[in-house]
């Protein structure tokens, strides 16, 4: 019996390792072979997968309706940027109000900077969440929205730390496919482990019926904070990766439309489905780029079509409305594409095409 179990484990570990190596080989191939435009879309997709999973954890699995994710992304983006920019660049960028010490002279590696971003966002997440999670859905939404706005306004006004409305330029472009997709992978693994664990069940219980959960011994404050803080950390690291991808950030990037975009990804995919978030984040990111077509002037078949700015978001808003009114559970609902689905698919394939008895 024990022999079988350890054999099983070795077999599973072997498969996992093989898949991982294949995965990174793919990334290598794409990174070196594909054009910059496509690589950028892939980077963005991965980053948004992680951030959407963060939102899904808080809003979907734990049922806490938070609208503050743009604020945590901002915290993470600024933290990473300020830590990874070189002192010379900082001196040049902060030309009106110099950056305070010690930030103006330090320069960290990417990994420690990202970890710091996660830590700082987590702390801010706790500061925001701890007082706010006692509220009902709509009040929580407005409160978290408020905090995100306050963060943005503070960033716009503390010129000696964030350079205010001018933003930061010249952020080193550390983000590449390895970083972003490792982030996405880690987020997926984290979510899978968390939501299938006893803690994950406790979160879902809180979502379904808070009063009953508490009566069964689930400490509401601890578990809600847990979801909130982890969600903020994921958004913070994602924000950091985003900053080092697009190399310029300013407070105006992190306003409600950004929260709306992430919310839309989570809702379209299904609040409560990890697979849904992964699929929706990728599709929406790609669609965002593809639909740029609508916003820029183009010549199609000899006819000049002027661009319509804002058309993309109209399309997405309509998509969100359609989903929430007719398919409120989103694309995947709360189902997952797990090993079972693949096994079933494989079994059916064998039955139909190979006429084997299964």
């Amino acid at each position: 019996m024990t022999g079988n179990r350890s054999n099983n484990f070795v077999r599973k570990a072997g498969i996992a390792l093989a898949l991982l190596i294949a995965f990174y080989l793919c990334l290598f191939w794409v990174q070196t072979g594909w054009d910059v435009y496509k690589v950028r879309i892939l980077n963005l997709s991965a980053i948004y997968i992680g951030i959407t999973l963060g939102l899904n954890l808080c809003n979907g699995f734990a049922g806490q309706f938070s609208l503050g994710i743009a604020g945590f992304m901002a915290v993470g983006a600024y933290t990473t940027a300020l830590l990874t920019m070189s002192p010379q660049t900082k001196a040049a960028v902060f030309f009106i109000d110099p950056l305070i010490w010690p930030l103006n002279s330090i320069q960290w590696g990417f990994l420690p900077a990202l970890l710091m971003a996660g830590l700082v966002s987590g702390l801010v997440g706790f500061a925001v969440g701890a007082p706010a999670i006692r509220f009902r859905d709509d009040y929580l939404g407005i409160t978290t929205l408020g905090f995100a706005e306050i963060i943005r306004v503070v960033f716009t006004n503390t010129r000696t730390i964030t350079n205010g409305a001018l933003g930061l330029k010249g952020i080193p472009p550390h983000t590449d496919l390895y970083w972003s997709w490792t982030f996405a992978l880690v987020c997926v693994l984290l979510m899978v482990r968390l939501t299938n664990s006893s803690y994950g069940r406790a979160l879902k219980a809180i979502r379904d019926d808070e009063v009953a959960a508490e009566a069964m011994g689930v400490n509401l404050f601890y578990h809600k904070c847990l979801a909130f803080v982890i969600s903020a950390m994921m958004a913070g690291v994602g924000g950091g990766l985003l900053g080092n991808l697009i190399t310029t950030i300013d407070p105006n990037m992190f306003r409600f439309p950004l929260t709306f975009t992430v919310l839309m990804m989570a809702v379209l995919g299904g609040l409560g489905s990890i697979t849904g978030s992964v699929i929706a984040a990728t599709l929406v990111t790609v669609a965002m780029e593809v639909l740029r077509v609508l916003e820029e002037p183009r010549v199609i078949l000899g006819i000049f079509l002027p661009g319509i700015p804002g058309m993309r978001m109209v399309v997405f808003s309509i998509a969100l409305m359609v989903v929430i009114l007719f398919y409120p559970k989103g694309f995947m609902g709360d189902r997952e594409l797990g090993l079972d689905s693949f096994r079933n698919l494989a079994a059916r394939f064998r039955r139909t095409f190979l006429r084997k008895q299964v």
Binding site: F135, I142, L145, E149, I150, F260, I308, P309, G310, L320
Partner: protein, 300 residues
């Protein structure tokens, strides 16, 4: 400069700011009422309310600019159209989700809000437009040491009149009774013979009409209108409604006035913090939620 003249300058500035504060406060109050009425009856934050406010200004604008209607007619038409828009939004986006989990309705509200703001961007264009300024509102009036245009009187007076009319409707008419019953409990109201759907529609119509009056006044006061103008006033006015006690119309007006006044005073007397003006509302909200979550006048 002698002491006497220095004081005069300060007093003038103070009075001017007071006038600004009262004006802004009235506009916020008009908008806040819509939020509180909808929340009272549906327990839903109508995120789209700010966009309704924005669209009404464009209705009025295009009435004059394209259809060359006299401004009085254009304004009235805008109010009517906006009220109808509010009812349509309720029917299409909120009613189907009445039995769904709360989060679905909230997401729908956010979706509508976003959709309308971006539709506005697409249809009206991003460049701000200049609102028409009828002569009537520009008549200068001398008030002691300061000079204001008639508008500064008309706005608060109009707000008070509207509030009186609203109170009359809510407390002295049958439909008002229906609205109050529906606020309390749908099933009980239905058993008493109240047409709950109609009460809800009327709530939205009234709230939207008030928002549109606020919008038109806003256009007259601040002249520039753009498709994104609804976002900030929208959120701030919801906060004002919460501050005054959600569900309570008088509270909403009080909250609106306090918020508008507070904002102006903040900028006037602490110019260093002027950049934080928009965050002022949120700070108020958080303080209030921590100290007295039921708002100033409590939940109705």
């Amino acid at each position: 400069m002698s002491d006497g003249r220095l004081e005069t300058v300060t007093l003038e500035i103070l009075l001017q700011n007071v006038a600004n504060g009262i004006t802004l406060g009235s506009l916020y109050a008009l908008l806040a009422i819509g939020y509180t009425m909808v929340y009272g009856i549906l327990r839903l934050i109508n995120f789209a309310h700010g966009e309704i406010f924005m669209i009404s200004t464009y209705f009025a604008f295009y009435g004059i600019a394209i259809f060359a209607l006299p401004w009085q007619l254009s304004f009235i038409l805008a109010i009517v159209l906006t009220a109808m828009l509010g009812v349509v939004i309720e029917r299409a986006a909120y009613r189907p989700l009445r039995d769904a989990p709360r989060i679905s309705a909230l997401i729908s509200a956010i979706g509508v809000s976003f959709l309308m703001a971006n539709l506005g961007l697409v249809i009206f264009g991003g460049r701000p437009k200049t609102f028409y300024r009828p002569q009537l509102f520009q008549i200068p009036i001398q008030l002691g040491r300061i000079r204001v245009v008639a508008l500064f009187f008309i706005i608060p007076v109009l707000t008070v009149i509207l509030l009186a009319i609203l109170n009359y409707i809510i407390y002295k008419t049958k439909i008002g009774l229906a609205m109050r019953a529906a606020q309390w409990d749908f099933d009980v109201a239905r058993l008493m013979g109240v047409d709950v759907d109609r009460a809800i529609s009327v709530t939205f119509a009234i709230g939207s009409a008030l928002a549109s009056i606020g919008g038109i006044m806003w256009g007259l006061r601040f002249v520039e209108i753009n498709p994104n103008m609804g976002l900030f006033p929208g959120v701030k006015c919801f906060i004002a409604a919460v501050f005054g006690g959600i569900g309570n119309t008088t509270g909403a007006v009080l909250g609106g006035f306090l918020l508008g006044f507070g904002e102006i005073m903040l900028v006037a007397f602490l110019p260093g913090l002027a950049g934080y003006r928009d965050a002022f509302a949120f700070v108020l909200l958080i303080l209030m939620l921590l100290v007295r979550p039921t708002g100033l006048l409590g939940e109705k």
